[in-house]
């Protein structure tokens, strides 16, 4: 087996596992549509997403595809350890996700086509609740379990090209698809008299969105990016007779990248989404920001960044807040045909009396055959 083939196979393994192992990214998403995914490659996530708009491996701005010079595939994995503090107690939740898989490459002169999978909304959760009910005059201890497994995936097909030597533009269409298997069960402690309750269902999702973006390169030292996206409506189908539509937000963002030296770059981004259109009073518009830096060349560079902003869903009439940082590095192998990035991220989220902290280790494998 050649190193090239081995790298491709590894990438496929990572991508294949992605559909099975997803877990709730935040407790705040349980009550809403879910937890929004980050459309960032592992390399961009190390900078807290600050470089994502300029990263051809990320799925944030289609115009960045124009930087792609070879057929490239990348896949990410992320393992998180989340500590949830609910006031009365705390719990630690571990989960592994595979939030992104992208393939891109030039097809004709300066035209690059790309696409792939990324997590749009994560709806995996499992909530346990123990209670005592009075039934037929007697107290009965019950354990309720609510589970969801799945979410909405974003299947992107995008095209980008360079217009002249300083302007790059891109556009993409996004098919939103996926399903969540939901399950509700109630177990009675007194199994001799009461039977357990179990109901399962599957919610399927359909939606269509579009995105456009542009990047301007000023003398190869300063780059500015603007991006926008509209996702229309998300159709939810529980069975052929029950369906509903929810509005999805539009996304507006801008980013800047400054090359201070040959191996030192800074970047920052701001992204706005009007999530309040998609749910009830517990949904909020969000404004996220990030600032990051990359020091060093392609060999073991140091990448780091901080991010902040809001989460779109949460109780209490106010958007939960999120702040955190990330750092990591990467290296190439197989004469530049492969690249492995690895990093760590810390996030802290607060909303009312609820607080959660997340440590995530993530890795990305990129193959350029």
């Amino acid at each position: 087996m050649t190193p090239r083939l081995r790298a491709v196979l590894l990438a496929l393994v990572l991508a294949g596992l992605g559909r099975r192992a997803q877990a709730q990214d935040s407790e705040f998403g349980i009550r809403g549509l879910g937890s929004p995914g980050h459309w960032e490659s592992a390399g961009s996530r190390m900078t807290a997403g600050a470089f994502a708009a300029f990263d051809e491996l990320s799925a944030l701005a289609d115009a960045s595809l124009a930087f792609q010079t070879k057929l490239t595939a990348t896949a990410n994995s992320a393992t998180s350890r989340r500590t949830v503090d609910v006031g009365a107690g705390s719990a630690t939740i571990t989960a592994t996700r595979f939030p992104l898989f992208q393939v891109s490459g030039p097809v004709y002169r300066r035209v690059v086509v790309g696409g792939g999978y990324s997590a749009y909304l994560d709806q995996t959760y499992r909530v346990l609740n123990r209670d005592t009910l009075v039934i037929r005059g007697d107290s009965q201890v019950v354990t309720d379990e609510l589970r969801g497994d799945g979410g909405v995936s974003d299947l992107r097909l995008a095209v980008a090209t360079a217009v002249g030597s300083h302007l790059y533009v891109g556009a993409g269409i996004h098919g939103l698809t996926g399903s969540t298997r939901v399950r509700a069960s109630r177990l009675f402690a007194d199994t001799s008299q009461y039977r357990s309750y179990l109901q399962q269902g599957e919610i399927r999702y359909e939606g269509l969105g579009g995105s456009v973006s542009a990047i301007v390169d000023f003398a190869d030292r300063v780059m500015l990016a603007v991006y926008g996206r509209s996702d229309g409506q998300l159709q939810e189908n529980l069975d052929p007779n029950i369906s509903a539509k929810r509005d999805l937000p539009y996304t507006l963002g801008a980013a800047a990248r400054l090359r201070l030296a040959a191996a030192v770059s800074l970047a920052g981004s701001v992204t706005y989404r009007n999530w309040s259109v998609s749910a009830d009073s517990n949904a909020y518009n969000t404004l996220d920001w990030s600032v990051g830096a990359e020091v060093g060349g392609s060999k073991l560079p140091l990448r780091f960044g901080v991010r902040g902003g809001q989460l779109p869903f949460g109780p209490g009439g106010q958007a939960p807040k999120e702040i955190g940082g990330a750092a990591g590095t990467g290296f190439g192998f197989a004469k530049g045909h492969g690249r492995f990035d690895i990093g760590v991220e810390y996030l802290q989220r607060t909303g009312g009396a609820f607080r959660e902290t997340v440590w995530t280790t993530f890795a990305g494998l990129t193959v350029r055959p």
């Binding site: 190193p3 590894l10 393994v13 990572l14 596992l17 192992a21 877990a23 709730q24 407790e27 349980i30 009550r31 994995s77 393992t79 609910v86 006031g87 009365a88 705390s90 719990a91 630690t92 939740i93 571990t94 989960a95 592994t96 595979f98 995996t124 959760y125 499992r126 909530v127 346990l128 609740n129 009910l133 039934i135 037929r136 309720d144 609510l146 969801g148 939901v182 509700a184 109630r186 008299q193 009461y194 039977r195 309750y197 179990l198 109901q199 269902g201 919610i203 939810e236 529980l238 029950i242 369906s243 509903a244 109780p315 290296f331 192998f333 492995f340 690895i342 009312g352 609820f354 890795a363």
Partner: protein
């Protein structure tokens, strides 16, 4: 090892590690509801379906004295019941010695009769079994009146069961009677009673066939159930015999014979069924209940508990020590009186009934109703039956129908205030996410 190889090995190990980590996941979170719970809400409804039983009827004749697992012998005010049975024929001639070519007629030395007394009431004292000789013509048509004259004749002999059980070693050295086994759990006693040839003469013309009648007496409320052949515990007579071999009586192997017919006759006959729901008695009666489960309840809920309420018309009859069970069993198909029961233990339940019990009888029927929720083509009908513990097999108690005169009557659906009802606790269908 080359540096490149080291890098490759490191990379592969990293990927393998990631794959392993991906297999371990613990996404459970403590609930902080409703703020951090899915909008899904569990409902719970507890209701009594007064019209849950749509139609009902009672049928009788399922188990008659001929088919009963026991022979009931009772002598209580208002009821006189006597066991009757006939034993099989024996070989009238046997070879005196092995190798002989001609047989010789047997000489009977003694007879032993083995009886199994099931669920003996230990509160009844001085329980005496009286044995009578009956004509060999007793059969399924024999009535109490037919054998009344034979029971009026002098008895063959009698046995005081309590005295025998109380004797040291449970053996009477004078009469030769003994207790073979005594089960404290089921209160079952197996007796081996000795008869001499004067009491039970061997009649060659009858090939040793003998018919017995058994009457019981006690200080009060004499009642006993003698095991019957239908349940594999019928009477066994053993003829101890010898053969004349050139002037010498040679003992030959004894000839045991099972009862080829056993039943019991009683007076007065059981009262006819009325408009109430009768369960038990002799011949046994069953109540057939047809359940009218509303379609919305069957299709759009999950039943987590269901209880059938039955209001008795009168206190349960029977003897203090003789409890029985009323069971509810699902029908495989509803064809009225001859409906077969479904062979599923999950949809079967019962409650113990103690004589004198007059309160509402509650039988859990959750399994049955949940079965009907799953199998909507199944006919929603059940039998109410009575059964009594009559034995123990492999450490488990065995119950059979038709082992007692006791019965219970319940108000039918036509008696509106007291009609059978279903108490149901259910969870309505949860609507996931989509309002």
């Amino acid at each position: 090892m080359r540096r490149r190889t080291v890098w490759r090995l490191g990379l592969l190990s990293g990927v393998a590690g990631l794959a392993l980590v991906a297999c371990s996941e613990s996404p459970a979170a403590p609930a902080q509801c409703p703020e951090f719970c899915p909008p899904t809400q569990f409902g719970l409804v507890d209701t009594i379906l007064a019209m849950g039983i749509g139609r009902d009827s009672s049928f009788t004749g399922y188990i008659t004295p001929i088919e009963a697992p026991v022979m009931l012998a009772e002598e209580v005010p208002g009821l006189d019941s006597r066991a009757i049975f006939r034993t099989g024929a024996i070989l009238p001639n046997l070879l005196p010695r092995s190798g002989d070519t001609t047989t010789a007629p047997i000489h009977v030395d003694s007879i032993r009769l083995s009886l199994t007394l099931q669920f003996r009431d230990t509160s009844v004292h001085n329980l005496v079994l009286h044995f009578f000789k009956l004509p060999l013509t007793i059969d399924t048509t024999t009535t109490f009146a037919d054998v009344q004259g034979d029971f009026a004749a002098p008895e063959i002999r009698s046995v005081n069961v309590d005295s025998l059980v109380a004797k040291f070693g449970t053996r009477d050295t004078v009469t030769g009677d003994s207790v073979v086994s005594l089960n404290d759990t089921t209160r079952e006693v197996v007796l081996s009673l000795r008869f001499d040839t004067l009491q039970v003469p061997y009649v060659a013309a009858d090939s040793g066939k003998v018919a017995f009648g058994v009457r019981v007496s006690a200080d009060s409320a004499a009642h006993i159930a003698i095991g019957a052949s239908d349940a594999g515990a019928g009477p066994v007579i053993t003829w101890f015999n010898s053969v004349d071999s050139v002037g010498v009586l040679v003992s030959r192997i004894a000839q045991p014979r099972l009862a080829v017919f056993d039943a019991f006759v009683f007076d007065p006959p059981t009262a006819a069924l009325d408009s109430n729901l009768t369960v038990g008695g002799m011949p046994t009666s069953r109540a057939l209940l047809r359940v009218a489960l509303p379609r919305w309840l069957r299709d759009s809920t999950q039943i987590i508990r269901a209880t059938l309420y039955l209001v008795p018309t009168a206190p349960a009859t029977g003897f203090t020590a003789d409890s029985y069970f009323i069971s509810a069993g699902r029908l495989a198909i509803d064809v009225g009186r001859k409906s077969p029961l479904a062979f599923d233990t999950a949809a079967f339940n019962s409650v113990p009934i103690h004589p004198g019990y007059a309160d509402t009888v509650r039988i859990e029927v959750t399994g049955m109703l949940r079965t009907w929720q799953v199998d909507t083509s199944a006919q929603m009908a059940m039998y109410l039956r009575q059964f009594t513990i009559t034995g123990q097999l492999l450490g488990r108690l065995q119950g059979t129908e038709g082992a007692t005169f006791s019965s219970m009557r319940f108000y039918p659906t036509s008696a509106a205030p007291y009609r059978p009802a279903l108490h149901i606790t259910y969870v309505p269908l949860i609507r996931f996410t989509i309002p």
